[in-house]
């Protein structure tokens, strides 16, 4: 494993398997969990330039459960340009000598920039529209809790793919395990190049076609904050790309519905699907802590 975790793309299958296996050890007994001292005396800085409740909290809990100290810095970046604050932050952070930095930023590649200039492991907690590696790891952990292996599965990823760091990390991860990946969304949010970023990826603009025979259906949030233009007619989005009960019959029996959250009910997913038995959305949240513990341990342990 490299010094930090910038993305899934550069990880080997073996490295991913090691993290997923270790995460399993950290999974159960979340409410009577004993604090470990694997990372005792270590300091982990959570540097969030973009609002995030669940990812930041999840990293904090993971760090504390391993016995590390966790400090969270949330930069709003409203008054100062974010560029200036990032460079300024560089020196401040270096002086604090943290053991690792967990970073979320609205710019793709921002953690790579930091990693080039700091001798401290950087863990990418989501960079712009690029990657969100720990989300893909916890998604894989969630699937593996319900299926014996990833090989041979068909996974449909539906929504605003081009702006989704969750989609990219999942595509890179699932592709390494020979998963048959189908991407579906409005054409301007699903450029044909996406089928070429990893092996085993297909594209369709028809949600029924995407869901047919799927073992896993990953719904993505429509990220209105990342739309720089009216790239698709928003009014008809749910009609053509929203997941509804009627679609589930097309999937393989017992298909799993996933969503990285937060959910827009009635926009990309119908409420009754989100709340149904097939939904693994809450399992995803629970696995977040376990996977992040495994990642922190692997980088710092």
């Amino acid at each position: 494993m490299p010094a930090g975790l910038l993305g899934i793309e550069d990880l080997s299958r073996e490295e991913i398997e090691a993290i997923l296996n270790r995460a399993k050890d950290y999974q159960p007994v979340q409410d009577h969990f004993k604090r470990l001292d694997i990372l005792k005396g270590r300091m982990i800085v959570n540097l969030f330039f973009e609002a995030s409740t669940r990812t930041r909290t999840s990293f904090e809990i993971a760090a504390k459960r391993l016995g590390a100290d966790a400090v969270s810095i949330t930069a709003s970046g409203s008054s100062v340009s974010k560029g200036e604050s990032l460079v300024d932050t560089l020196n401040t952070l270096a002086a604090m000598r943290p053991s690792a930095i967990v970073m979320r930023h609205s710019a793709s590649g921002a953690p790579h920039f930091l990693a080039r200039h700091l001798p401290i492991p950087i863990i990418n907690a989501g960079d712009g529209t690029h990657e969100h590696p720990t989300q893909a790891l916890l998604d894989a952990r969630t699937i593996l809790d319900l299926r014996p292996s990833l090989e041979g599965l068909r996974v449909a990823i539906i929504g605003d793919i081009v702006h989704s760091r969750v989609a990219r990390s999942n595509i890179y991860l699932l592709s390494k395990f020979g998963v048959d990946i189908v991407l579906c969304g409005p054409a301007p949010l699903l450029p044909p190049e996406l089928a070429r970023i990893a092996p085993g990826v297909r594209i369709t603009y028809d949600i029924r076609e995407a869901i047919r025979d799927a073992d896993v259906i990953m719904m993505l949030r429509v990220q209105l904050e990342r739309q720089h233009e009216a790239a698709f007619p928003a009014g008809e989005y749910f009609h053509f790309f929203g997941l509804r009960n009627e679609h589930l019959g097309l999937a393989r029996p017992g298909a799993i519905v996933m969503h990285p959250g937060p959910i827009n009910r009635g926009r990309e997913i119908a409420s009754e699907v989100a709340d149904s038995q097939v939904s693994a959305i809450l399992n995803q949240v629970e696995n977040g802590v376990a996977v992040r513990m495994a990642v922190l341990e692997r980088i710092l342990g």
Binding site: E9, S81, K82, G83, E84, L86, V87, H105, A107, S108, G109, A110, H112, F113, D127, G128, T129, H130, E131, V162, R165, R168, P191, E193, L194, R196, I197, H228, E229
Partner: protein, 425 residues
């Protein structure tokens, strides 16, 4: 002045077709004679084993003065030019204030006469403030010394304004240089739109954003009969359209930068802003098309688009970094590698792209080694082994992808008006 006698070099002068061992005698700033066994009371420059060429002309640079002197000045930019073998440079008008009137033009000419070690032929704006609306004072700027007009970096979006600009420039005998980019198609883009941009999660600048403007402008150039030049051409289709226009006899020319002939989008280390410029590094296929076009004679000039940015401006997240790289000191090294050592073009053709090629476009009385011509000479060694070291750069900026690159071939001495203004130590 005693004069300068450059002896025993391989004299390559594409304008006259000369390529032979000969001497060049410069006196009073002008070339007095070119021939074998020249003598006379003059300082001797031994050019044995070296190529002696007309002074190189870079028709596309940014010297950042006035307005952005923290990144470059006329003085530092011209020193970098000299160290790259250039004896003349043409600074684009996107200074602050914009070079859109004769006062700014005169200021630049005046500053250059005092501080520049090479010739400076400014390029004026097409429209006031390069805002794309009202035509700039082209006639007065020409009198003040501009060699062409361009709204480089802020291309003329309004087709009607472009039409009027072409008509006006034609009447004043000025070429119109366009940075071809439809700003609506490219809005927000940070790199070439393709698999790489998709992989990295960066917004794309599609090839079509260049091509729709090339297509539009070629139609307007034909309609108006004006002289039109495509700056830093970067895509296969743009080249096809320019080639077709030329075959139909239009007064259309184009230039290629060292980076667009050598680097593709996939060569960029992840999010390295030293690879970020407009037009962006295109696909491998586009790079091949650019090199093919040079070999086929469709390209008239190599121009660097030397675009200095202060270090702090490039020390940001990729999407916030400004566009552009410096290129004066590495241009010849890159061009020799990509075009000559690869066997794609002979040395004469390479020299042509740096000399008479741009001189013809801008109607400059430069770029040739004939008695009576300006005493501008570039001496280079096509096989010299050297490594680019930014710490020795004359530019005030450091934004280049070629730091630490080992080159085969590079400039050895730069002579302007008979004076050696730079010499490799």
């Amino acid at each position: 002045m005693p004069g300068l006698l450059i002896k025993h070099g391989r004299v390559i002068d594409p304008a006259s077709g000369r390529d032979e061992r000969a001497d060049v005698l410069i006196r009073d700033g002008l070339i007095e004679a070119v021939g074998q066994g020249l003598d006379g009371s003059a300082e001797v420059f031994d050019a044995r084993g070296l190529v002696v060429a007309p002074g190189f002309i870079d028709m596309h640079v940014h010297l950042r003065e006035p307005g952005f002197e923290h990144a470059e000045t006329i003085e530092t930019g011209c020193r970098a030019a000299a160290a790259g073998g250039f004896t003349s440079v043409c600074p684009m008008p996107n200074t602050s204030p914009v070079n859109d009137n004769p006062t700014v033009t005169s200021y630049i000419v005046e500053r250059a006469s005092r501080h520049a070690v090479v010739n400076v032929f400014p390029i004026g704006a097409i429209t006031k403030d390069s805002a794309g609306e009202t035509l700039a004072e082209m006639g007065s700027m020409k009198r003040a010394g501009v060699a062409a007009v361009s709204d480089d970096g802020r291309p003329v979006m309004n087709a009607r304004v472009m039409r009027r600009a072409l008509e006006t420039a034609k009447a004043f005998g000025l070429p119109v240089i366009q940075h071809c980019e439809d700003l609506n198609l490219s809005a927000g883009g940070d790199m070439h739109e393709g698999v790489e941009s998709t992989r990295l999660g960066l917004r794309g600048i599609p090839s079509s954003s260049e091509e729709v403007i090339v297509a539009r402008d070629l139609l307007l150039a034909e309609y108006t009969g004006a002289q039109y030049h495509v700056a830093h051409i970067s895509t296969r289709r743009s080249i096809e359209m320019v080639a077709q226009a030329r075959s139909r006899g239009l007064a259309v020319t184009c230039e290629v930068t060292p980076h667009h002939m050598s680097l593709a989008d996939e060569d960029m280390p992840p999010y390295d802003s030293n690879y970020k410029m407009r037009p962006p590094l295109r696909s491998r296929g586009d790079v091949a098309a650019v090199v093919d076009a040079i070999a086929a004679g469709v390209v008239d000039a190599i121009a660097t688009d030397h675009a200095p940015h202060a270090g702090s401006e490039k020390m940001q997240e990729y999407e916030r970094c400004p566009f552009g790289i410096i290129g004066l000191e590495t241009a010849l090294g890159v061009a020799l590698q990509v075009l000559y050592h690869s066997g794609r073009i002979p040395l004469t053709r390479l020299v042509e792209l740096f000399t008479v090629g741009p001189a013809r476009i801008l109607k400059l009385d430069r770029g040739r080694l004939a008695p009576g011509a300006a005493g501008d000479v570039t001496v280079f060694d096509p096989d010299l082994e050297w490594t680019y070291d930014l710490d020795k750069s004359f530019s005030k900026s450091r934004n280049t992808p070629w730091e630490g690159t080992a080159f085969r071939g590079g400039p050895v001495a730069t002579i302007v008006d008979g004076v050696v203004v730079w010499r490799r130590d």
